[in-house]
Symmetry: C2
Subunit: 431 residues, 2 copies
């Protein structure tokens, strides 16, 4: 980075969108981000902060003066400001609050009043709204006098005198109909609208499935509050997928690839610590069979096979279940069928691989009884793996634990323990 | 499902979007999908086929007559038709081809001529294009005479006499400028355009980062070919995330939660088979140390701990690397720094947990030498895990293997083998 000419960078940054600059900042070590900050064009540094992942944003802000942050966020919407106040240290939040005028502060507090992860939090209040009893000609004249339309506007919100939501006038309909027609004749009366209390997850699924560009936010009394646009929703869909991908290895979806070593190590140490406890639990289970192991050392050689196969088979079921729950495909109506299917698959897998491991181990150790014990424990463990892979996420969801985060650990603990107990237990009984 | 009144379902389906019907079909067992097909409104059954996941689509089509499929797809765009011909059995593809007129067939073959996963494959050719030397008034009159604008149009493509791409006239600019102005005065001359050969992955990242609604597709000679719209890109972003989530457990992103048991079992058996080979490899490595294990059975008890910790730590690095490579954050410029960071983190983790396992195992077996061997092999295995988690995806990417599919297996094989070799090997040398 030092090799680059500062002027070249300034010129480069002038052409980039805020999101591209944010991606660039996330691709360099944390320590160099402060230097780059000064090069970002001033009109875009607020938007860059919004686009940064949470961990990267926090580390950058910690390297800036409070005044720099306040200045950067001065031209942000109330919903982006609310995200800043929510994710940054309290003192930075207070500095932001102090910099606002009465109206700005009111907007911020209104946004913060909605629950986290609700539509109200990502709602923009700058939507263009028009009345239903005017002609398209009047709308066209109004837009020309306005000289600009907010980004991601595919339609204008139609309201009555009391700001009650009536429908949406799609720009394409405005453009293709006779200007003498009335808005109420042309508008889409069935236009979807959502409550500010709707969850962002539901909303994102809706945007994806219905190919929406924006949607009106309407309160219980039918009053138009604002709109949610696609750009925020695409980010949320992404965060949810990252949540499952990174959650499976104990990391946060805001994990920063280039954050400094110590904080990264701290977050990962925690996950390894949890795994160590479960590994000791498995070791303790093995320890219960020390006497058997001492007699037949071949058991120590074969024992990881059963546990490992259970972990893999259970992991497949678990991953499909978590994905199905996240995308809303699994409900109580079809859960029973799914459980039946997963158990049937595991029975097929279990019997197939039981034959294979039985044969291979017989050729290796020439001991029929060891091979039979290994085959039997394989079938038992794959059945338990399917039941766990199905049951753990269903149970966790019911009691309000996120299966994407904790599902994998609980599952491998179960398959390891059952794997060792069934194999070494059967061996103790029959060998 | 049988309990439902058919009339109620028909009414329900009439109100649903194609994507919602597709999601519903994917949420019921495969055997019941044929029944539901007849209830889907005829104007939407082609779109439902497009929205279905590949596996679900194939199973449904296998239950339909060729004529039913041909009729369903008769009103699809050439790009959607190309997807059908590509993913359905050849005889269905031939039946579709035979049903097309000359122009339709030409459009289909033109689409199929572009490489799979290229922008050309998802391009629509129905974009509205206008000339640059006319007034906005003329454009407004033209649109009114057209009576409709294709969905997801946020701007009109501007071309010259030779269909060369000049820029884009955003609808918002068309609406907010004086009608007497010329298109070329108002149009966005910097509007982004892409080659039909651009990869869908690059394109999806671009849509997300630049918050685009549509983008012009322009060939090497500057001629406008069509446009790509956001709705296709949102699906692609989704598929890529699903690819990593499901690929990690050996499944396809088109995996169908409710497909019949036997095909599902077949796909999963394969993955378990690969794992069985690696599990036997690990068992073989343990077998090399049978003499040592026979002397000290405590080693068999503790041995899974080292392998398991290596697998978890390596999995964290691997997941971050695959995610970073997929989102374009990792390049040769910053790879060295990342490798250094991952090794530093593993050194910290290794030393921390080495102390913990050393102490716990000392209290358990009261054998200082066993504890020292366990601690040393923990440090060795976590270092190897970090190197593998970093190196495996980088190497696979270079030689063209998809790390999201094969990375996890190679990694666990490495951490299992090194875990057992370092622990049992050190034990053989020093105990």
């Amino acid at each position: 980075l030092e090799d680059f000419d500062k002027d070249v960078l300034i010129e480069l940054f002038a052409d980039l969108e805020a999101s591209e600059i944010a991606r660039l900042l996330e691709s360099i070590p944390d320590s160099q981000r402060g230097q780059l900050w000064s090069i970002i064009p001033e009109d875009r540094n607020g938007a860059v902060l919004v686009e940064l992942g949470e961990v990267a944003r926090l580390s950058l802000v910690n390297n800036l003066e409070n005044e720099q942050v306040v200045e950067a966020v001065s031209n942000l919407d109330s919903n982006d400001l609310a995200e800043m106040v929510d994710t940054l240290p309290d003192e930075v939040g207070d500095a932001i609050r102090q910099s606002l005028d009465y109206k700005g502060l009111q907007g911020l507090e209104a946004s913060l009043a909605f629950p986290e992860d609700s539509a109200g939090r990502v709602m923009e209040t700058e939507a263009v709204a028009i009345r239903s009893d005017i002609t398209l000609e009047t709308v066209l004249r109004f837009l020309r006098s306005r000289e600009s339309i907010p980004a991601h506007t595919s339609g204008l919100m139609v309201i009555d005198r009391q700001r009650a939501f009536q429908g949406e006038l799609h720009l394409s309909d405005l453009l293709t109909h006779n200007p003498s027609m009335l808005v109420e004749e042309v508008m889409d009366k069935e236009a979807i609208n959502i409550s500010p209390l709707a969850s962002q997850h539901e909303l994102a699924i809706m945007f994806r499935d219905l190919d929406l560009v924006s949607v009106a936010v309407v309160d219980d009394d039918g009053i138009l509050l604002g709109r949610v646009t696609l750009d925020d929703m695409v980010d949320i869909l992404h965060e949810e997928a990252d949540h499952q991908i990174l959650g499976a290895v104990g990391l946060d979806e805001d994990e920063d690839l280039f954050s400094p070593i110590l904080p990264s190590a701290k977050r990962r140490l925690f996950w390894l610590g949890i795994n160590l406890v479960t590994a000791f639990l498995a070791a303790w289970v093995i320890g219960l069979f020390e006497a058997t192991l001492e007699k037949i050392v071949a058991l120590a050689v074969l024992m990881p096979i059963v546990a490992s196969m259970g972990g893999i088979a259970g992991g497949q079921t678990l991953t499909l279940m978590i994905r199905g729950l996240a995308t809303g495909k699994i409900s109580s109506a079809n859960a029973k069928w799914l459980a039946y299917k997963e158990i049937a698959i595991s029975a097929i897998s279990g019997m197939t691989w039981a034959v294979v491991v039985g044969l291979v181990s017989y050729f290796w150790f020439s001991d029929l009884r060891i091979s039979l014990v290994l085959a039997a424990s394989m079938i038992i463990n794959l059945l338990i793996a399917a039941l766990s892979g199905f049951g753990i996420p269903m149970f966790m969801k019911r009691i309000g634990i996120d299966p994407a985060l904790a599902g994998g650990v609980v599952l491998t603990t179960a398959t390891d323990v059952i794997g060792f107990v069934s194999f070494l237990g059967l061996a103790t009984l029959f060998l």
